[in-house]
Symmetry: C2
Subunit: 460 residues, 2 copies
């Protein structure tokens, strides 16, 4: 047991008073001004409506991608960017083709007909004519390795499941996502003719969740689908005690790469115009939904931060770039291009912030930065706390800004909204406008704008 009141006094001297010095009154006033502007006049929700309902799903290379680019360019101009430009980059053009299908056709030698709700994995290739084979089910790659002789000619089902006791769903996603990212390649190595995976979600609804996979060029590129969680339960239980035969058909293919664009708005720095702060989200989404949380939210957060800074008449000291990245989901081409061009031009990138974890209520920011820069950012916590940011201690960043960190060592941060609902709709048909809450969305922009303001004022 400790003497709590003594501790509090000492803490006050050590901790609170330096904060009181650091969290200068003018910063608190400015952040309140930004927050009031966003919560009163914010356009993020209306913009998200346009992007989701008028553009819709916008996979890289698709006609909707061009529509989204034009929409983003217009929005950034209308919201007051000093200049708006498009940065060309090659993007893959994967098309899903005819609706994928899978069904159980035989159990222990008896003909049945039970359809499964499935989606082809992104970047997977269609098999043209149906593949029909026995199912062999595994909980892990290790299990498959042990029984590799049995795999040949079969359809492999990977049952990797989120650990429900894990409080952090993104950690669960990291752990189980290997089935989607590498499962088809791993199974093809042992002669599998198709792969089915449990969707990467804890949702109790049966919607399948797509997402990218990568083949290994040394082995056949076999068809691969994700299955809704209830169908996954069914297949897993069934395959433990019965011989199960499934037929699956997918029609996905790659068309030749095409031209896409990072859409960039800029507010020019008044004092250090060569020091660049980047804030962004990715404009592309999967084709089966509206990409509302992933990453419509990040896109409209980005535009809203710019709008609000302009609206209150803030003139940044450093140049702030508001970037709608071209291609995160199935290629990472947008973020890579942005960093490459930055390198060619010898630009000085002092900080980048990405929103790509949804438009939920804000909880914090994660950083990939040197210790001194991370420590500096963490001292701003008391200024952000009234707006929902509770934690800036962890790691984070974003797929599109990762290349800046790798190329230049630029400190990067990721906006962290509450993660508990994200994987219910991530890459599923349910990632639509109706599942985004206006207040939660706007509050994300408030916290992001406040962080950008502080980095602009104090550097990092």
């Amino acid at each position: 047991m400790i003497n709590f009141s003594l501790m509090k006094k000492l803490l006050f001297l050590l901790f609170l008073s330096p904060i009181a010095v650091w969290a200068q009154q003018d910063d608190a006033v400015m952040i309140k001004k930004i927050s009031d502007e966003i919560l009163r006049n914010g356009k993020a929700y209306d913009l998200l409506y346009e992007l989701t309902k008028k553009v819709g799903g916008r996979l890289a290379g698709s006609p909707q991608m061009y529509k989204a680019e034009a929409w983003g360019e217009k929005a950034l101009k209308e919201m007051g960017a000093d200049r708006v430009y498009l940065q060309e980059c090659q993007v893959p053009r994967w098309v899903r083709g005819a609706k994928e299908e899978a069904q159980v056709i035989n159990i222990n030698g008896k003909a049945v007909s039970r359809k499964l709700d499935v989606l082809a994995l992104g970047n997977s290739l269609g098999n043209g004519k149906p593949v029909t084979a026995k199912v062999i089910a595994f909980n892990s790659f290790e299990e498959m390795d042990k029984r590799k002789e049995e795999v040949k000619g079969k359809i492999v089902y990977f049952n990797h499941s989120f650990d429900p006791t894990n409080i952090k769903p993104f950690v669960s996603y990291g752990q189980t996502g290997v089935s989607r990212r590498a499962g088809p390649a791993a199974a093809a190595k042992y002669g599998a003719v198709g792969v089915m995976i449990r969707s990467l979600t804890e949702s109790t609804a049966n919607d399948p969740h797509t997402g990218s996979t990568s083949y290994n060029d040394s082995f056949p590129k076999i068809p691969a689908i994700a299955m809704g969680p209830r169908d996954a339960d069914y297949i897993w239980e069934l395959s433990k005690k019965s011989d199960v035969m499934v037929t699956m058909r997918t029609s996905a293919k790659f068309l030749p790469d095409t031209i896409g664009h990072n859409v960039i708005g800029e507010l020019k720095g008044s004092k250090y115009p060569d020091e660049i702060i980047t804030i962004g989200g990715h404009l592309d989404s999967w084709d089966v939904n509206e990409g509302a949380h992933d990453d419509g939210a990040g896109v409209v957060h980005t535009i809203e931060v710019m709008r609000a800074l302009k609206a209150i008449g803030y003139r940044p000291q450093r140049t702030i770039r508001f970037v709608l990245f071209a291609n995160e989901e199935n290629g990472m081409r947008g973020g890579n291009k942005y960093a490459e061009v930055a390198k060619e031009k010898g630009e000085k990138h002092i900080f980048a912030l990405e929103s790509d974890a949804g438009g939920f209520t804000p909880r914090g920011f994660g950083f990939t930065a040197s210790k001194d820069k991370h420590d500096k950012a963490q001292q701003w916590l008391p200024l952000l706390k009234p707006y929902g940011t509770e934690d800036m201690a962890g790691s984070g960043g974003g797929a599109d800004i990762g290349p800046l960190n790798r190329l230049f060592g630029t400190p990067i941060a990721g906006f962290i909204p509450d993660p508990q609902r994200y994987f219910d709709l991530h890459h599923a048909r349910t990632d639509v406008f109706e599942n985004v809450n206006k207040r939660e969305l706007l509050l994300g922009a408030v916290n992001m704008a406040a962080l950008v303001y502080l980095v602009d004022k104090y550097g990092l």
Copy 2:
């Protein structure tokens, strides 16, 4: 600018090491065990499905109230309470009657017919035949006081709106809620014949939100309705520049008081059986929805905490009561009765915890307690933090446990989930099961169970 690394070292000595002592390893292990049990085997979501879909809306005194009581009794028994009993209390029986109606029938002398989406306020009385009158609109009671001579014979519209710049919606609710709670009484004093209010919400949907009002017995009990936000905007804008005539009809009335029950499950204390810890939510809800967040979530949180403690074989030192309160929404009779009986029996209530702010992702607890007890509870923060509790510094409690605090000085706490979505559906038709997320709901129970465990172990 401060020397951050020195400060961190000092903080470590002062702050982290006492925490390390306090947050004993066995507590962390026990809380992880509780959390794993709830997240793996939790029944809260299934129970909520039953309560919302099989019982439904359950206003005090209604047939559904009895159904809910029987359901609660059965659930507490099945989940392993040492004993379950019903505590009788008189409850009001307010019935809405025929569907309420309101429409604009005349603008500047021209006949029109525009229906408004409205709900009668809880505890308001119907006018039988329609009331038709001119509308006079006010932003505040002060405005009405200044123009009180104009009120007679009119329908008063109160436009009290949430301040969108307020980060804390419950504060907005406190500020604007006066229009609902006291508007009809205040307007009747000046001779108004009816009252309409803007629903207490920031939602952009047009659903009206009901909730209780209180008349003043010295003045006529005039009909009172809440209007959907879009209709409220319409009336407000229209009434600023035009003469508007509205007709409204409500049919609500009180039937005689009837008998309801607090449904109580108990785990008997092994060491201090006379020291009672209460945890609860209220079983009643409004009649127009399923009472999913308000307060189905609190009810199933309560049952889940008991289930989990039993399931892991935890034997409490103190007696823990799991209370489903009979009547919060329009009478507070359940909580008052519980405290009265406690007083009659000379019970020793050392702590009470309520969940009545929804089943959203957990953010903390608020306390109404003496400083030393609040300080003691706050020291547990590091143990709860991994599960989402970030703040235990503020005030809080609950309507049903407030009487314990007032009668005995019992320290009380309220569970604080993220508040941003709550008033979108609070008292509206949209407060249904589908708007509750399973993970968020279970995590609330995890944090509540952990707090109850700590109070049971260390007292407060």
